[in-house]
Symmetry: D2
Subunit: 353 residues, 4 copies
């Protein structure tokens, strides 16, 4: 299969570049009869769009979604849903100076090695602009999962540099521009981001994704385990360098007597597993963590080469994120929704529930 699709039964295929006319996607396999409107998709798109704060890209995009097909009388028909968003604020001149230069940390070099083509306009296809379509497609999955199964998916910023955020207040996440669950640490976060930004630098972060009320039984061992498909989906997000399920890398230091989740007639006593055992959901809360690298486009100069192999010193201007992880939050939610939706359908196919 070609690489621009994800999901087996709930299948999302995206297209479009950062500075092309538009970006779009096709969502195939949507169950028929679901009430669906633009507002269902726009809500999450607004959470991801650039320009929301001074710490994310200042590119002005309304990210206004258009539904092109698959809906009749406000209901899904079971046929593919075509979606698109026009690119409105393309400042390709920003990229004239990197026309023949590979930006370190970006996909410029590897894309050129693979395709022998240099689409320098804002990263072309490799830009995180593409993730807008993931959010749109994921919103369809989210809605179905919530209304039909009661599944609730949310994500939050759980760490930036050394500042760790705990899930102390779920409501708080939607109240600030950082998707941060701890109100009292917001000013510290802002100060820190200000200092990074003033240095012309960027900072890494961690995002945590939670799915509640997922029924037991989702996941298709031995290769399409639920956690394996979550790892695939999450690692496909731009800038993600690590994925954990449940206790993740903390298990390295744990003993079996600490890590295994004991069970009583009232349910599991702990949730080190992150809600997945043997690749199948247990009915507990599903928890996944992502590490997201700092933006590579910063104004601090760096060494690199051009297409001819000459050494070059580059300082990347343009409109970039101080902390990519912020806008990755709704994207991570979308990917979780797409995976769960696909597995709900796969499980229903084989096991009939």
């Amino acid at each position: 299969m070609s690489g621009n699709s994800i999901g087996n039964l709930f299948r999302v295929t995206t297209f479009g570049e950062s500075h092309g006319k538009l970006i779009g996607c096709i969502v195939d396999g949507v169950p028929p009869g679901i009430i669906l409107s633009i507002s269902d998709l726009q809500f999450d798109l607004n959470r991801r769009k650039p320009g929301c704060s001074m710490y994310v890209s200042s590119r002005k995009e309304l990210d206004k979604i258009e539904i092109l097909s698959g809906i009749f009388n406000n209901k899904t028909t079971g046929t593919p849903i075509g979606l698109l968003i026009k690119n409105e604020d393309c400042v390709s001149e920003d990229y004239e100076n990197i026309k023949n230069v590979f930006r370190p940390g970006h996909a410029d070099f590897s894309y050129y090695k693979k395709y022998k083509i240099r689409d320098y306009r804002g990263g072309g296809r490799s830009s995180s602009r593409e993730t807008a379509m993931r959010v749109a497609a994921g919103a369809i999955a989210k809605k179905y999962l919530k209304e039909t199964l009661g599944i609730k998916i949310f994500a939050f910023l759980s760490q930036v540099g050394n500042i760790i955020f705990s899930l102390t207040d779920i409501q708080e996440i939607s109240k600030n521009k950082f998707f941060c669950p701890e109100k009292k640490k917001l000013s510290k976060l802002k100060s820190f981001l200000d200092s990074i930004k003033n240095d012309g630098d960027s900072i890494g972060s961690k995002v945590t994704i939670v799915a509640d009320r997922v029924p037991a039984g989702l996941g298709e061992p031995v290769f399409d385990k639920l956690d394996a498909d979550i790892a695939h989906a999450m690692m496909s997000i731009n800038a993600v360098k690590g994925v954990e399920i449940g206790d993740g890398f903390n298990v390295v230091k744990m003993k079996g007597s600490q890590n295994r989740d004991e069970i009583s007639k009232k349910g599991f006593l702990t949730n080190h597993s992150g809600g997945i055992l043997g690749g199948i959901s247990t009915g507990q809360r599903i928890i996944s963590h992502l590490s997201i690298k700092p933006a590579s486009s910063i104004s601090i100069p760096c060494k690199t080469i051009d297409k001819n192999g000459n050494d070059v010193i580059l300082s990347v201007k343009g409109r970039h994120d101080t902390c990519i992880g912020i806008r990755a939050v709704p994207v991570a939610e979308a990917m979780m929704a797409i995976v769960l939706m696909d597995h709900f359908l796969r499980n229903r196919a084989q096991c009939g529930k």
Copy 2:
């Protein structure tokens, strides 16, 4: 697609249970004309098989591989290669006492919830015995990648509990039963494992996988990025709870000026990315880390329930691993080989190299 296959063009499908007659697999899409014999596969199988040390399962399995098809006059024919290994040392009585009980930390509960069937014999399909077929299939990929492209894949135990092992001596890895690259820390490791074992407990670990001389250009954005497919493959291994590429979770604390790998005409100056940018290999060393949870089958008693929901106290006997990560090393190499092989073919298809 059903869940027991991995890979698009180099496609591995496995079957069989821990205590069934045999386990097997089909490897489809192998290029024709490759010289291949049993010894090519047996080498890695011997590295994974149980009974190699006192810290892994004492089950006696020779894991003798049989090639059933796809080879003629010692060469691959391009048609599917069928493989099987007989199960010889099944002691199903070991499992009589857990017939109706869900072992915490295992797949017993989730499989039962999904399939409504309790195959209690050694974990049935969810047993890590299945990974023997991954090793066999991976050995075919490894051979092709090495002989045709010069790619070298190896893995090692990089952490157990608090003991960290650095890649100081690649040769050392194959000289001890732990796949440990630091000879001087072996006695410390043994003492630690002895103490864990004496406590009737188990311990978590970290495994690092390396692939050298991978050509630039492998990976199929935006969803089937090379790192996304590695994450999928690795997370599908039993007991894996986290996957990192390159700096992994360390990027959370890093600045862009530290993390982006600068380039000179002599090549990249650092390799924080782990050899993958934008989901495509850069030509640098590919590095991935896995966290592997401690075995849940330990003799220390635990709380659980039976099929009827009654509270039960369980102490798991049988032949289990003190540190699962040891035997996961050849499995992780195999999964890396399968992913790289698949992506080599995918890239050749589209880009013609």
Copy 3:
């Protein structure tokens, strides 16, 4: 996989309904570096579009294609190509009278049974309007196959009712509106179609597709044989009820001594096989025939039922084809091109040529 995609490596996914805003598709897996412009696609679209003669639908659609992505500086970049065509001449009122009625011979009844939704506007997703996107995607494949491999694909109307057309003059096919290879039979064909049209009726037909200079070696036994994938692709075209390769149903009466194609050092002596043996191309001309049913939308009244199960007498008005097979010619060419392109890539992946 969801049902709106075809091809494994050269992968086409379509969306859109007959009377929606637009129809579109994504073509993924296109090799990079191919010079491609709108005119490459528009040529075949013009051959398929309605309104070309009095024997096909009079709906006025320019079928003007827009390329949305995947092209940079006139070359394919290797990233997905998004395509769309706006629907301009939607006369949904034509369909008001069938809002609750199932048109016999159409997909109305079966779609309703499956999806519980009745998108009555021109057949919705089941309309042959969708085939325009196949033609657009197929034109990309056609161009690549021709320029890179010298493969030439063409189709023609080979039978209408009892009038049989032989491939006496390839040039003639493009000179008339019927894709008919025998000029001398054109007036007979027109008279026959006039009589059918005057009766308010429609007529079935046969279309023959030819691919020349296909290299030996394409096809992936045992299930994805080249002929099996051609059959799949052709049978997926609206109104097709039969597919033949080479001698097709004539083999029922043939003896082995007649049918097997003998070989000499100069090549095959005959081509009963239609260029495919054991599911793999032989290097001979590939030949396939399709039977295409008569349009079911005719003015002659018929018995049917409405959504409530009541008996109804229906006379279908609107802008319909007297002989669907005419416009199926470029669609059949496109499907052949998509299959050959996909198999060229699949063969290159495994066998390296």
Copy 4:
């Protein structure tokens, strides 16, 4: 995807050659909890096996099936079912004389062109021996479809040369070795086959497959239409050169007023469509016809070439079928069952029934 698998959710992957140790397959995606035993599979295998009459291959194979996995306490567990049959009567010497020669009408030439390997032993992978595994896998599907949904699938020999057999007596099909539904024409058929056999020749045939009580709603437009997937599955059977659904090629001469199946409150008035409209089952009987070419391995000498391109005269000895179509009957049933099973699961996934 590699070419040795069929089906998306009910997925069959086969391996093995005509004269290798054994042939086998993996059936993935089987619903759990189905009672399944060897006898369920052996019944259809016995109908297909060679040596049943003087008109089919005299190779002595019991085709004794072994179930290797996926069953526990006589029930399917939902995990992959491994199956194998040992090859017992391999007379590879029969093939020594064709070691370097391409048999006309066989896959010898095209396989060699593709893979550069000549596995001359009985056709290797291209032999119809592989179809035994299709029958075994299909038997699982058949059983599920019958017991769970009441679907009844059967096929019969509908034409041999000029002798046409009508479906006058379903019971008769299982009473003779020819799967022929007309008892009164059996002696005529035998005489005809005797004369063909005496001439050292072979004859083509037609097979008709029927599926009754298929629920409305199966099929996934626009590419994975039910008829498209049936065409794919049927054309993948060795020697098949044509596939029809319903009226098939007869529609070429039909008018819309004759062909469209009118509907009344009591149901469809006719079934020209063969039970499928718009690629989705209607609830009517599904009917498909196949044309099967005459065996190419006959004793009448023919012209061909060897691997070095030299002209050769070849007379093929060995144990071959006078009429391949006879043994194709259970294979065609199996392929229909596999397709319907897959589409039942696909429809249940999306539409929830």
